[in-house]
Amino acid sequence: MTRRRRGAGWLISACVCLCALIGCAVTALADEIRPAYLELRETAPGEFNVLWQTPMVGEVRLALEPEFSGETALLAPVISQTNGTGPAQTSIQTWRLGAPQLRGQTLRIRGLENTVTDVLTRIQFLDGTVAINVLQPSAPTLVIPERQTALMLARNYIVFGIQHIWFGADHLLFVLGLLLIVGDRWTLVKTITSFTVAHSITLAVATLGFAHPAVEPLNAAIALSILFLGPEIARTWRGETSLTISRPWLIAFLFGLLHGFGFAGALTGAGLPRPDLAVALLTFNIGVEIGQIAFVLLVVALERSFRQLEISWPAALARAPGYLVGGAGAFWTFQRAAILLGVMQ
């Protein structure tokens, strides 16, 4: 073996290790996001109706509890009930809270740091002002603001949208699959635009309440859309063509409709009240697009850099992203089909 080949082998091994490590990380982050929702509505000075909705895993409610730093009192006992079935099942608790001075207090969601879920919070005061925020496992506290501007509200939903697509490994893998199929930049622009338009349509349709696709079949169909791209990517390796390869924008549009319903789950799953839906929909979608465009630009720039560095990947390694898309699609399809059929939870 020549020194050059040894050097190349070392480089390849290093890259394989790095990709495997990154893959592990992505797998670890691929859990479905089902946000919890906390709503406080002031009904009399210093008195709030509390709605606390948390996702359930099987028959068990996620161990999340809201806590306030200042003076609060329970004015009426907690009433608990469950809503929905299967993966969409949630626990709903309601009670009345007395808090003479809620603004300026720190709200903490105890136990959030041990989960991968988020908590949407909405606090409506008697004077009509509303504060909406997203708490995350790495930032489970919130100082309740004196007043929340529209800009702060938009920022919160944009961050939530970016987070949703970056954490939703299934959506990113679908976009990666499309990138592996498209042959030129103009087709790339058309394909990504089609996907964006399609998922924006169904995101709006679902968020505004015009359609409510069941969660289990939707998740299985999204997984199937990723699996569908695997063989299409393999066709491009063999120099073959198909409808997907010749018109990827068409497939991106059709499957984009499915993914839009998936994006909507993040908003509608939290049960946001209707008055906030328009602004939430718009800014959340902007966040999703920012996250998606950033991912596409990164992949395109990296691919260009690899060409500039004249990296000639061995065939097995060059095809690894395609196998990742097809393999993950197959895994999720089986997993979600099993959930759909009630074989597993």
């Binding site: 670890a28 930032a139 954490f167 990296l302 560095l309």
Partner: protein, 199 residues
């Protein structure tokens, strides 16, 4: 000479507002430890600048040096982080890493044609030293391993993008621009070195 001081002043003005304490832990992106790790090198000048400098240095030496740097820096950084995380011995003072930044920036600025082995060894040493300091800061942090993977992934992207671009630079003015950025990095490294005596 005046122009160079002027550039250094502008760079300082642009950089200082974003500077974080040298012993800072991973920044909090709100997206979890992997994304915190991804963001860390991009928002920490003391880590980003040497990574940029070594990517440019390798890129100026051509595609092969760029490829080696692409493999070496993230892995050496990762190995250093694991060592710092597990060993618990304090890392070298920040001023040492600052001087290393000055040295690599100066090598870029002067367009030194170092042997391939020297560039790779320098890359490995720089990655291991900075990685060790990061790993030491991460000791006891939750999600440290995911954070380390995020840092290594981020460095992989930074080196790939910059070394790739530097490797294809042909025009004289473009090569000069790369060298000027090296001088900026050296100048900022000097300022960091001086700043490190403040505490």
């Amino acid at each position: 000479m005046n122009a160079r001081w002027w550039r250094a002043g502008v760079a300082l003005a642009l950089t200082l507002p974003g500077a974080t304490p040298a012993a800072a832990h991973l920044m909090n992106s709100g997206f979890g430890p992997f994304y915190d790790g991804l963001a860390h090198p991009l928002l920490s000048p003391e880590d980003l600048l040497p990574a940029i400098a070594i990517a440019l240095l390798a890129g100026l030496r051509g595609a092969r040096a760029g490829r080696l740097a692409l493999a070496t820096l993230p892995l050496a950084w990762l190995a250093g982080m694991v060592a710092g995380w597990t060993m618990g011995l304090p890392p070298l003072p920040p001023r040492f890493n600052a001087m290393l930044t000055v040295a690599v920036g100066a090598l870029v600025a002067s367009d030194q044609r170092l042997p391939l082995a020297a560039v790779t060894a320098l890359t490995a040493a720089l990655g291991a030293l900075h990685g060790y300091a990061n790993g030491y800061d991460l000791a006891g942090a939750s999600g440290a391993l995911l954070g380390m993977l995020g840092i290594a992934s981020s460095l992989f992207a930074v080196v790939s993008l910059l070394a790739g671009q530097a490797a294809v630079v042909q025009a004289e003015w473009a090569r000069l621009a790369v060298r000027i950025s090296g001088s900026w990095i050296a100048a900022i490294g000097m300022l960091m070195f001086g700043w490190s005596f403040r505490t």
